[in-house]
Amino acid sequence: MAQSKDFRDWDQYRWTAPDTDWRKASIVSCGIDIGSISTQAVIMVDGQLYAYSNMRTGSNSPDSADKALSWALEDTDGLSQDDIQYIVGTGYGRINIPMAQRAITEIACHALGANFIYGPSVRTILDVGGQDVKVIQCDEKGKVINFLMNDKCAAGTGRGMEVMADLLSVPLVEIGQKSFEVDEEPEPVSSTCVVFGKSEALSLLRKGWSIEKVLAAYCRAMANRIVELIERLGVQREFAITGGQSKNIGVVKRIEMLLNIEAVKTEKYDPQIAGGIGAALFARALFEKSRKSGG
């Protein structure tokens, strides 16, 4: 089977709010979220989403931050880095972002971001990223009350999905849809280990399973693993999912089914940038505070 690098890819993109004039704003803030897989730069004006970029994380954090920010600024009517009053870095690479004035963990940022995206009734947030799974409980202001994180083993995270995409030559973005094209939900694969999962998938194919069926089995196994973690903390409503995997309906719907709870959805914002949004909101608040105390 041809191995192609392309199947794991998702579209990198940028966006600017139409009809917003940043020059009229009193505060321009920015959040940069450098994850193990993806990097987002989010620019907000007066607490409203103005522009963002979403791209694959490069081989080092300062570069990735630089690229993501420049790209986010690309189509913004002359906005430049100097016009941004405060930048907060978050994510795995947060300590290595030269232009950021402050680093805050992705846990706090995802909670605040989810609060912004889905509204103040969100209490439980599931963030499934490239190598981490986090379950976060927060209050109505988006402040974290409690959280859990996977450790040691990356089984069940986004990287595993990417490996599957390459292996099965199914574009990552189609995995979710395809995984439902089966007559009957198969048994989950027994190993969610990124490495062994690959071999197991191969041997299922050799047994004559369709690609769809293998995907279903793999998505189900991931959902099981994630649900195990969620149940350790318990779910309170509303329940929201952020991070790149929130776009994988193959996993999301199975999680909802296992938990018997539907996650809140929105068309308005991209849930993968929740961390970046949270960081930008923190940046805004921090700037206001420094302005007050600094006179």
Partner: protein
């Protein structure tokens, strides 16, 4: 293909009696309150006769055997385990107690008939502390049940052949305090007559087990380990009931008869295996697989041999079914002296507790090797039991000792109470490798 000797097989007659007794045991506990009886709960074999002395209508539940039985129903067990984990109870805690706490949490108790009844809340927690967490299990269980009073007896002293007078004194002190405590908590009196009756039954049952067990030294073995699992728990469930010693005597006689007539547990017996510790209860078909495909019979373990049973164990590990006191010997003593004699008997015969829980594996290895010698075994398959630190303690050292003595040893991972820690296909692969390497070809293809 190697030539295969064939022995005649017959089903065990005593089997159904065991099944009935098990049903009676669990049902009577669940229904204890209907007749005004009391429920005592704790670690199995916590000096049952003393508890029984508080009334014929006292019913005693051992949480380990209950949980082992619940583990058979793997879907039910899974619900229990998940209930625990969502409550913040760690995955790697005692595989048994997760079934037990889980039952409390979901308010479900499973009977051998698969019938599910509401959780029968205990009235008293009476337990021994043999590992480093036992009495704590019930502390927590009692809290989950909304506050059941607990009494724990520290058994972390010398047990088995190293036992001393000081150790008996320590346990006796605690027992005397415990009796006072139960009297206060339940308002019932300790009945000496009842104690004499119960304890004589108990010791008789424990000792009869040894007599039955010895018949497996025969080739072919009249009974296999999987069947032994159905009987031996009565040593700690309700040994103080007259039915139990009767059952064991009947089993003993049946095994004798089978040996006399050359009846085998497994007709194709050609390789005899020692195992260790509680098995993966929900996956006992592994034993059947080995029997059918390789003619390999598992027929002994320090677990079924010693748990709550009555042996006199010599310094070199040789075993003789223990002698029991007569009614007169017990009756003529005063209460304290009688309790002392009973405790001394129990402590000195419970070699398994001592070798397992103090982790004294030099001694355990010696016992294992002795069984291998006397029971004429060819190899060992050891369960690395993620569900129980206690019974998994020292097993890797035992393994090294057995290998050193020249026997082949295989280990496999599992969890007595939780199938999620067990990989069936992987285990079968290991077993196949093990036998192939020993030059034992399959009796039937595939499997």
């Amino acid at each position: 293909m190697t030539e295969v000797k064939k022995y005649p097989e017959e089903p065990l007659k005593t089997w159904n009696k065991a099944k009935e007794l098990r049903l009676k045991y669990f049902t009577s506990y669940a229904k204890a309150h209907e007749t005004g009886g009391l429920r005592f709960c704790g670690s199995a074999g916590s000096l049952n006769s003393i508890q029984q002395a508080f009334g014929r209508d006292v019913f005693i539940l051992g949480s380990e055997p209950y949980s082992a039985h619940a583990a058979f129903f793997s879907d039910f067990a899974r619900k229990c385990q998940e209930a625990c984990e969502s409550r913040g109870i760690a995955h790697d805690l005692c595989g048994y107690m997760k079934n037990y706490w889980g039952g409390i949490l979901i308010n479900q108790f499973i009977l051998p008939t698969h019938e599910i009844v509401p959780w029968p809340k205990a009235d008293v927690m009476w337990t021994q502390h043999i590992c480093c967490t036992h009495a704590k299990w019930y502390q927590y269980a009692g809290e989950l049940e909304g506050g059941v009073p607990e009494f724990g007896i520290d058994f972390n002293c010398r047990i088995g052949h190293t036992m001393t007078d000081r150790d008996i004194d320590y346990v006796l002190e605690q027992v005397l305090e415990g009796i006072e405590w139960v009297e206060k908590v339940t308002g019932r009196k300790f009945d000496d007559e009842l104690f004499i009756e119960a304890s004589l039954n108990e010791l008789a049952a424990n000792s009869a087990w040894g007599q039955a067990y010895e018949y497996n030294q025969n080739i072919p073995a009249p009974i296999d380990e999987k069947s032994l699992y159905s009987f031996f728990p009565f040593n700690i469930l309700c040994p103080q009931w007259a039915e139990t010693s009767a059952l064991f005597r009947e089993l003993r006689d049946e095994l004798k008869d089978r040996v006399d007539r050359g009846i085998a547990a497994v007709g194709n017996e050609r390789f005899r295996i020692l195992t260790d510790g509680p098995p993966q209860w929900a996956m006992l078909q592994v034993y059947r697989y080995m029997e059918k495909v390789y003619g390999a019979v598992t027929l002994g373990s320090t677990y079924t041999a010693y748990w709550g049973t009555g042996w006199d164990v010599a310094e070199d590990g040789s075993l003789i079914a223990a002698k029991i006191p007569t009614r007169e010997e017990f009756a003529q003593l005063n209460r304290e002296a009688r309790l002392r004699k009973y405790i001394a008997w129990k402590l000195s015969k419970q070699e398994a507790y001592s070798v397992t829980f103090t982790g004294c594996h030099p001694r355990k290895s010696a016992l294992m090797l002795k069984i291998m010698e006397l029971w004429k075994l060819d190899g060992a398959i050891i369960h690395l039991n993620r569900g129980c630190e206690g019974s998994a303690m020292g097993v890797l050292e035992n393994r090294l000792d057995i290998i050193k003595a020249g026997y082949p040893v295989l280990t496999y991972e599992g969890n007595m109470g939780d199938v999620r820690d067990f990989d069936y296909a992987g285990t079968i692969r290991k077993i196949e490798n093990f036998f192939e390497n020993l030059g034992l070809e399959k009796l039937i293809k595939g499997g």
